[in-house]
């Protein structure tokens, strides 16, 4: 059977419809429905437009030909009962092309995706990056800010300031998803995951949990347990006001850990060399000598007292030798891990002084 | 107590070394004899004999502390 006029007409209609679909997806008002709240969102939307346009065009082609064949080659009333179809088994040329063209398409898609992937993936924190930590609980979120004691219930970000977001969870896997940011990362207990982005649009955005976490999974709240969870992107002035007010309000908030036993330590006589030996035997199983998010059981401790991105310790206190000693004395329990206290670790006051001296020497 | 368990370990090592060599030789000879046999299950047998010889070899190395894993008492 020759490819007749009907076939070519159908093909023309299919091509036309495909072009219309591509045109539609190129100009579809995605941002009208969903604003793009961060810098990465635009690129992800472009990828989505590419995928949607090519996908819809493919669907139109397949559906178009199926429907045309179904209509054109249906058994009619006058078709003899023993009629058979065209006895063609294959067509190597055709098969070659329809293997090659999808392969090319996949190649292009892979290049685009890989390229975009490297733009999205966490890069090393720059100098002016705001480092925020988001923590999942059953069933609310809390956040930790440099310079603010303890955990706060709302997430505010200043617009146009690069953000490095570390996430983890206390109990089960949660996730951090702001649909208007097009970004998502799971909060896995025992792991620190990272997102890097720059907010570009002021507003209030819903924060959703997409990793099933139990009874109220559909109803995760902000840390105050009152409101739905939101991320607020504020103008710099408004953010500053919020930050100052919160810092004041949180100054006297209770610690995540028990208050110190009160034993006063003399940190002045610490010996870094002795501390180094002790670190290797007592601490290195759980703490890497790497950046904060190089986590083993607890966070990495390189520059723990000198990291501008982490001016706070895991319990929210300022990173000072005294506060490090306090954690060594009392232990710590939270999403960044669990650390036994002084007695359980079997270290003396002198050991603590040595360790603090050693940690202080790491830069 | 210490002395006894050290002696036991010593004896264990000697036996492991000696019998390890026996098993290694036996498995190698068996593999050589079977080399030309055909059939699906015989191919599998040959593979397994080879692995058995490998295992015996590893046990010999372990018995003389050439191969020692992490977290293992010598």
């Amino acid at each position: 059977m020759k490819l007749d006029r009907g076939f070519w007409t159908a093909t023309a209609v299919i091509v036309l419809l495909g072009l219309v679909a591509i045109f539609f997806w190129v100009y579809a008002p995605i941002t009208g429905l969903m604003p793009e709240a961060v810098d990465r969102a635009r690129q992800i939307d472009l990828l989505y437009r590419f995928l949607a346009a090519s996908g819809t065009a493919l669907l139109i082609a397949v559906f178009g030909y199926i429907l045309y064949f179904v209509f054109r080659f249906r058994r009619r009333k006058d078709t003899p009962a023993d009629a058979i179809g065209l006895q063609i088994h294959d067509n190597h040329k055709l098969e070659f092309w329809w293997t090659l063209i999808p392969s090319m398409y996949i190649l292009v898609l892979a290049i685009i995706s890989v390229n975009l992937f490297f733009q999205i993936e966490p890069v090393n924190a720059q100098g002016n990056t705001l480092v925020v930590e988001a923590l999942g609980h059953q069933w609310f979120y809390t956040f930790r800010y440099p310079g603010i004691h303890g955990e706060v219930g709302e997430m505010h970000l200043p617009v146009n300031q690069p953000v490095t977001l570390h996430v983890s969870a206390y109990d089960v896997i949660h996730s951090f998803w702001v649909p208007d940011m097009r970004l998502k990362v799971d909060m896995v207990p025992g792991l620190i995951n990272t997102l890097v982005f720059t907010p570009t649009r002021v507003g209030r955005y819903e924060l959703e949990c997409t990793e099933f976490c139990g009874t109220f999974h559909g109803d995760m709240r902000s840390g105050t347990q009152q409101d739905k969870a939101y991320v607020y992107i504020d103008p710099p002035g408004k953010y500053k006001a919020w930050y100052d007010a919160t810092q004041k309000a949180q100054a006297n908030a209770s610690d995540a850990v028990q208050v110190s036993s009160g034993a006063s330590l003399d940190l002045s006589k610490g010996d870094p060399a002795a501390g180094k030996t002790l670190f290797q035997t007592k601490c290195s199983a759980c703490h890497a000598l790497g950046p904060f998010d190089k986590k083993i059981v607890g966070p990495g401790l390189m520059g723990v007292l000198h990291d501008p991105a982490h001016p706070n310790l895991v319990n929210g206190d300022k990173a000072t030798p005294e506060n490090v000693a306090k954690i060594l004395q009392n232990g710590f329990s939270g999403p960044m891990g669990t650390m036994p206290n002084q007695t359980a670790n079997g270290i003396s006051d002198k050991d603590i002084a040595n360790l603090v001296a050693y940690l202080n020497s790491l830069k | 107590m210490e002395g006894i368990s050290a002696t036991v370990a010593h004896v264990e090592r000697i036996f492991a070394f000696a019998f390890g060599i026996v098993v290694l030789l036996v498995a190698s000879v068996a593999l050589k004899n079977d080399w030309k046999s055909k059939g699906l299950e015989n191919q599998v047998f040959k593979m397994m004999l080879a692995l058995l010889a490998l295992g015996a070899f590893l046990a010999i190395l372990a018995s003389v502390n050439v191969l020692v894993g992490k977290g293992v008492e010598i």
Partner: protein, 557 residues
Amino acid sequence: MAVAAVHSGGLADHIHPEPQGFLRKYVFSIDHKIIGVQYLVTCGIFMILAGALAELIRVQLMRANGGFMTPDTYNAVFTMHGSTMVWFMIIPLLTGAFGNLVMPVQIGARDVAFPWLNMIAYWIFPVAGLMLYSSFLMGAPVAGWTEYPPMSLQGAPGTSMWCAAVFLVGIGSTMTGMNFLVTILKMRAPGMTFTRMPLFVWGQFVTAPLLMIATTALGAALAALFIQREFGVPFFDPTKGGSPLLWQHMFWFYSHPAVYIMILPAFGIISEVFPTFARKPIFGYKMIAFSSCAIAILGFMVWAHHMFTSGMAPTLQLPFMVLTMLIAIPTGVKIFSWTTTLFGGVLEFSTAMLYSIGFLMLFTIGGVTGVFLAAVPFDLHAHGTYFIVAHFHYVIAGGSIMGALAGLYFWYPKMTGRMMSERAGKWSFWLYMIGMNGTFLPMHWLGLWGMPRRYAVYDPQFQTWNQIESWFSFVMTASILLTMINAIISLKTGKKAGPNPWKARTLEWQIPSPMPYYNFKHIPSVFSAPYDFAEPLPYRGLEEELTDSPPPVPAAH
């Protein structure tokens, strides 16, 4: 003519004696055809259960603030819906039911390689199903069918029962896989080379190793979860050194191939239906067969694409992304080949053909969204949302179940000797198409707009679309019920089918319907591929099958 078959003594002439008594004939039967029907009926029961659970989900989602069920009940309901549909409905239906029913006949064998193992594999399945549903009595599992720890470590005692039940049904699957693989490798009729096998047999042949290997890996994961829950061994508990991601690796190493277990046999079914009702050979037989193999092999290398947001190393994410995209190529080849098979045919729109065309369209939608999700940057947005729900329901409800329904309408006459009502069948098809698309199409944009999955309550702006979906889901249920009623009533009232109502050309249509216990009086020999409608049938030795010559004599033991 009235000469009983002569034994050459080989396996091909080894016939089980005719089973005597109700128990041996219909309950503890070792006949693959009876076992196939047993699977089919059991799967039907699980379909009703899981379908009812699905409707409970849809009723709950009619209102944004829920209220029909407590969140915990809702969580248990969707967990059981997913678990039942995957392990107790679709996998046994496509492998156990249709595989047993026709695969041995299509290769010209008298039975599967290990009939007793086959019987045991079947009987494990309803027992495991009872165990699964008994977990409702002790507090049903609530963490979704994926049961991610640490959530599943908090779950009710029923979670351990869930582990045991799925482990058991997995053992049954493994047995079926081994059985089918040996059967297809060793028991083909003389002349039935690999390139002369019907494509349904190819589907089963490619599925069997997946069943055998992947299911065992799942067994290990389930055993580890069970051990952790019952004995406190911290595989997955991060506070004691375990890793929640370990479960995700172990689970998806099974569950991604499981997706292909659920779709490859359905590919096989529609590859049988298309040539039969288009009266022309399948286009690109070899490409369809080899692309199935490619999909099965690639299927083992892409599991971590379910974990792009879990915090895996970026260096691992990239190869998984690219490999996942590669699967689109063999899948595309299949879709194009089936579409081209329609070209120049004499298409007869029986219900089986309608369902196959429906399969082709809906599966293509699921495949296209699958390529979307393979791209990590897009997956970062869509992961864990209703977009995912839409994607895999298009693949499973639009692909696997439509394929199974096509198979049911196609092989029902062979199974029972009677036709199903075509009129009711066409109604069921259109209801299914309308209901299926109405239910799952809106989920695409709901997900992209920000509705995560597994929410018992959701934001009010999504309520309208959810109500529309719920109403359409009732249409879908009506369609399934119509098919089931059709199948039951047609047992009694259906038109007599005769051996070959569709004028199909594979071996199972050349023997009487329903198929006799010995399958063939003489094992035929095969000298060509089955789909050349212009040629005479490519089989020798089938002359006596439809005559009333005496059945072959069972081998003496």
